[in-house]
């Protein structure tokens, strides 16, 4: 009946991927797992501590604060960048010289390295030599990111919006360009208002790129490190100390490798969980 050759040679084809994933993800992560369940003093003295580090980390008020801050920050980033990106994409010219120019201008922020972006804004916002800070202070708005927590917070948010909204806009733009003209023609014939066109044609067709945009922006903003670090070093106080910076301080500053490892895993799981929730929520509505 079954004349097919039965062997397992095909597994060899999977091997390269398996090795790649092993070395790039699994092995490093297992090292972290290894650290998270032991208290290591030196090569010879290491003690298994079970879930102690996890318990300690989960009860650390410092981490609770930065986790909360992190969630608020990521939520703000998404709430601003996604609608703004869509709006920009809708306004961008669709053809001709202007569309290429727009695309190039939009790409520029994406090409600038994180720490350069941080430095640009750090100088830009200074009250003495920075254009933004100087102008704001002179028109009577007191602004000082180094002293005022909310100023610092808003500045970090604006940096991210400035840096990454283009990405969302470009993704949406590509999604919009993929909509065949007949949809717009049909909508005109059906006398759809521009809101209806957006709601029933453009938004549904942009859905898959929006999913990518939301995931990318969530993951990136949830791991933000460089910008606040360059701008204020996480201050003033702890106002712009986000999770990754807390983690760095713990791991490299205090050399608490055990708790830091446990924390990394929790951090990773949070990102995974939230991304999964986004993904299922957005793909679930696909199927009725």
């Amino acid at each position: 009946m079954n004349n097919k050759v039965q062997n397992n040679k095909a597994w060899w084809l999977v091997l390269p991927v398996f090795l790649l994933v092993a070395f790039s993800a699994i092995i490093p992560m297992m090292t972290v797992v290894n650290y998270s369940v032991q208290d290591i003093f030196d090569q010879s003295s290491r003690y298994f501590v079970g879930t102690d580090w996890f318990r300690q980390v989960l009860q650390d008020p410092r981490l609770h604060d930065s986790l909360l801050r992190q969630f608020i920050y990521s939520a703000c980033v998404l709430l601003i960048e996604i609608p703004l990106g869509i709006a920009i994409a809708l306004c961008m010219p669709t053809k001709g010289r202007w569309s290429s120019l727009c695309l190039i201008v939009m790409t520029i922020p994406l090409l600038i390295p994180f720490n350069v972006v941080g430095t640009i804004w750090q100088i830009f916002g200074r009250g003495d030599i920075g254009l933004l800070g100087y102008v704001l202070n002179n028109v009577g708005i007191s602004y000082n990111y180094a002293a005022n927590a909310s100023d610092a917070w808003v500045t970090v948010l604006i940096i991210d919006v400035w840096h990454w909204t283009s990405l969302v806009a470009l993704l949406c733009y590509s999604g919009l360009r993929a909509i065949p003209d007949v949809y717009y023609q049909a909508a005109r014939i059906d006398r759809a208002s521009s809101w209806a066109v957006f709601r029933h044609i453009q938004l549904p067709k942009m859905k898959s790129v929006l999913l990518i945009a939301v995931m990318l922006r969530f993951m990136d903003s949830f791991m933000i490190y460089t910008e606040p670090f360059v701008l204020t070093g996480g201050g003033p106080g702890n106002s712009t100390t986000f999770l990754s910076q807390t983690l760095t301080t713990m791991a490299l500053g205090q050399f608490d490798l055990g708790p830091a490892a446990a924390f990394s895993l929790v951090y990773f799981l949070i990102i995974l969980l939230v991304s999964w929730v986004f993904y299922t929520a957005m793909t679930h509505s696909e199927k009725n």
Partner: protein, 366 residues
């Protein structure tokens, strides 16, 4: 409900057209009567979609006028013209249910919800969409989607005309037939002017009462399917309609008729006069493969042609002949004997057409 009149209409995509070849639509005047079912038939790139878009208002003609019931509508958008159009690829609003899709044009007009309900139910009945009303449009098959997009045109009772732009291209062959029937039925029921663009002659002739054949941006013939078949006004119509197309042979005028090679074809005196009156750079005769008479043996005025091969298409056969070096196709019944080596044929005079510069010469009295 409207009569559509095209007056000296022409369209060019280039800003400064210099010659006729710059025109996608060459100057034409034309009337589509209210309530008629029309087809625009032609090969790809002949300008039929351009013409359709001009009628619907998606495109504004560069010259001439489009009139709906003697009102010039050149500058009106499709929504102002009250046109419904069904496109080649079915357009449905994915996220909405079939019901909401059908209700969409009505709701956009601000119709009250009760009336929307009854209208949609009515159309769903006609199109057999009742069982699908609650389904999301995204999950439909191509033919169901196409029915939904037709339905969106039909629900509005104020439409002046429904235009179809090759609506059955993406539909499976066995469903094409059903949808075509449905369209015909709808046309009879609603008495709306319908214009149907297609490159499929079968589709055109089953749907339309009258067919406009387009070629090179011009309507070369406008007539019933029968007229197109029996009396093609242009060699292109002869070639494009029918399967296989008309036999067209270049001829030269001779005393008493025309001829090619050593073949002489006598023509009526009136026709001879017409040919003499109108010197043309090319003169052709045309005869449909169905109308070539095949004799069983040599008879008086029959011509002898070589048989090169026979195609058996199941329900009929096509004889490929060579007459004085010219290829000639003849369609014969399946049960008829196939002549071997040689065939004796003649061209019945009522089916022998003469074309001067590609246009039919009519002798005037018949």
């Amino acid at each position: 409900m409207a009569e559509i009149r095209l007056q000296n209409l022409a369209h060019s995509y280039s800003k400064q057209p210099t010659g006729p070849e710059d025109y996608a639509i060459r100057e034409m005047s034309h009337i589509w009567e209210q309530g008629g079912a029309y087809a625009l038939l032609g090969p790809s790139g002949c300008g039929k979609s351009t013409l359709l878009n001009i009628i619907s208002g998606l495109l504004s003609p560069s010259e001439g006028q489009v009139m709906f019931d003697s009102r010039v509508v050149n500058d009106l958008s499709p929504e102002q013209r009250n046109i419904a159009q069904v496109f080649q690829f079915p357009v449905v609003y994915d996220t909405m249910t079939v019901f909401d899709n059908l209700a969409f044009p009505l709701r956009n007009q601000g119709m009250d919800e009760k009336k929307v309900q009854t209208k949609v139910q009515e159309i769903a009945d006609v199109l057999d969409l009742q069982p699908l009303l609650k389904k999301k449009a995204r999950n439909l098959t191509a033919d169901e989607k196409q029915k939904v997009s037709m339905g969106r045109g039909l629900v509005r009772d104020d439409v002046s005309a429904i235009l179809f732009d090759e609506p059955l291209t993406v539909i499976d062959p066995h469903l094409k037939w059903k949808l075509r029937r449905k369209l015909k039925q709808i046309h009879e029921q609603f008495n709306i002017t319908m214009v149907y663009v297609t490159h499929d002659q079968l589709e055109a002739s089953t749907f339309a009462d009258k067919i406009a054949v387009m070629y090179g941006g011009a309507i070369v013939q406008f007539g019933t399917p029968r007229e197109l078949f029996e009396k093609p006004q242009h060699t292109f119509v002869g070639y494009f309609i029918g399967s296989p197309g008309m036999n067209l042979i270049e001829v030269t005028p001779q005393a008493g008729g025309v001829g090619f090679g050593d073949v002489h074809l006598p023509l009526s005196v009136a026709m001879q006069q017409r040919i003499a009156e109108k010197p043309a750079s090319s003169l052709k005769i045309g005869i449909r493969p169905e109308f070539v008479h095949v004799w069983d043996g040599p008879v008086d005025d029959a011509m002898c042609a070589e048989v090169s091969h026979v195609e058996d298409l199941g329900t009929y056969k096509i004889l490929n002949l060579r007459l004085a070096g010219h290829p000639l196709k003849v369609r014969i019944q399946e049960d008829k004997p196939v002549p071997e080596g040689q065939a004796w044929i003649s061209f019945p005079s009522q089916w022998l057409m003469v074309y001067a510069d590609e246009y039919l010469l009519e002798s005037g009295h018949e």
